[in-house]
Symmetry: C2
Subunit: 328 residues, 2 copies
């Protein structure tokens, strides 16, 4: 099995170079700096790498997907910048967030600029047909609408404790899964795949995107503070309706009431959080989430059977496994 982080690293230098080139023409200077800042801060480059690897796995060239992959990273960055404004998050990738450095106005504009640039970059892709560029762009635009809808749903969930599993799954698909699915689908389009393979690669991306988000919920309770870089149970402290909280409220029987009380309380003690974790463990909600993520990953790997064997296909298998192996 390949080391996934190392493989992602192999793709990221081309992607970063491409992004820096495309953003270097932005004026005035402060807008350019704010736009390029998070790319320079370093990210896993998971989405663009998935786009390039998928292009190879369907028999195409990674170069043909480079611009689309870079554009998808810009869309991801745009959504981080605007989300940080909305959530008033001070830090991102270990650095002060964009609106903390340049102020909210420039941060809004930097996000908008990245968004515009992303579409400009895809449509100007060379080496692929107008039809391919068109399809890739439609795929990314669809994901962008879903990201906004997912974020709006997520904000709408803040004061609600009756969110259903279906609502939650739709929200995380839109907020997180849609762009990952767009990355693998657009990679397949730019790699020249058939419609059947394109659809399969969208499904693969959707499934690992779901697993990724569910694993985040799981790690919040099952990891340790040092590895995670934040206190265990912080989602419970925030009263966030994760898949674990939703399942717990539905399956903890008599203890649901206590669990709900802790979720609603803004000033829980460490004992309260530990009690909530105990309830969620006992009723099987944590295991339920873990199994859901595992099922998604297994389904994602099954979907990959449509592809001929290759080292790129193996990387896609490894990335699916990696989603559940990461501890932070």
């Amino acid at each position: 099995m390949s080391d996934v982080k190392e493989v992602l690293g192999n793709y990221s230098s081309d992607i970063i170079k491409s992004i820096e080139e495309d953003l270097s023409v932005i004026t005035p200077n402060n807008l350019q700096e704010a736009s390029i800042y998070l790319t320079k801060a370093g990210g896993k480059m998971l989405r663009p790498a998935l786009c390039l690897i998928t292009a190879e796995a369907v028999g195409g060239k990674k170069e043909d997907a480079l611009k689309t992959g870079s554009a998808i990273e810009l869309i991801h960055t745009f959504s981080l910048i605007h989300d940080d404004i909305m959530d008033d998050d001070d830090m991102r990738r270990g650095m002060p967030s964009v609106h903390k450095v340049w102020g909210e106005d420039v941060a809004i504009l930097a996000g908008d600029t990245l968004f515009s640039k992303a579409f400009e970059i895809i449509i100007k892709s060379e080496g692929t047909s107008h039809s391919q560029n068109n399809q890739a762009l439609a795929t990314v635009a669809d994901a962008c609408v879903k990201i906004c809808e997912g974020q709006a749903s997520d904000m709408g969930f803040e004061d609600r404790f009756d969110v259903t599993e279906d609502e939650y799954m739709e929200m995380i698909f839109k907020k997180t899964g849609a762009l990952i699915a767009a990355a693998t689908k657009a990679g397949a389009i730019m790699g020249g795949a058939s419609q059947e393979v394109i659809d399969a690669m969208y499904e693969y991306g959707r499934l690992i995107g779901l697993a990724f988000q569910i694993q985040d919920d799981y790690l919040d309770l099952a990891s340790d503070e040092e590895t995670l870089g934040k206190p265990i149970g912080s989602d419970i402290e925030k009263g966030k309706m994760t898949i674990i909280a939703i399942n717990g409220l539905a399956s903890a029987g008599d203890e649901s009431e206590k669990l709900l009380e802790i979720l609603k309380n803004d000033n829980n003690s460490k004992e309260d959080i530990d009690l909530a974790i105990e309830i969620l463990t006992k009723c099987g909600a944590i295991e339920y989430a873990r199994n859901l993520a595992l099922d998604s990953v297994n389904q994602a790997k099954e979907v990959l059977e449509i592809l001929p064997d290759s080292s790129s296909k193996q990387v896609l298998v490894d990335i699916a496994d990696f989603v559940l192996e990461r501890h932070s």
Copy 2:
């Protein structure tokens, strides 16, 4: 000469219908309502109408430009929503602005959603070729980058009183002219025009866009409060570097110092504003701006000579004249 407002009105019902249809699928409800709000509040629909009229004027069908025109209106609306957040403007189109009704977070998202939808809509245009859709989209994406750059430049001018005419002209082209130019260029593309005509229609849009903005600067000093709906000289009061202020500072000789003092002062009396207007009138700055707008309009009409005579071409001529005839 046709009544321009009446002509624009003839196009607007199709455009509004198209926009409402495309936005009706957005969820959750509050995001949909915030996204559609300003379209329902009513606008001149100048940009989308220009797109459709240009498609006709180059010999094409307005239906082929309908989706692109609607998308351009969405981009315009997106920029209004985000600008109102940045400028903290409470009112828009006679109603409370989007962030005043739904809060800043939803307003940021509504803008982002309109932006995403716009690209989705253009790329799905039917009846035109992939190549046309591609070119139209690249045109709009380019304008979006320019809008962000123009807004960032404009914000950067706020504390500067040494803005040059060239800097100012570039800023207003990007902030206002670029999307109008994109509307006429994309209309020509969707109407099936030759590259020469497409380029000419971009130039036409650029020129009337400049005239439009300069006329705004002119009306701030040359209109009357009742017609304009705001006090005369409000740009001077805000210390805004308009083309008139820039020209005045360069050409008012000994009185430049007094003019600069008034521009820098946040608490001017009505007498101060009147004195500034007197200085700007005497040194010819107001006339200079008026002539600049007039020249742009005349050049725009000359550019139209590339088109065969038609009623749509006549409307484009009338719109160019209308830019200078409006009083508010």
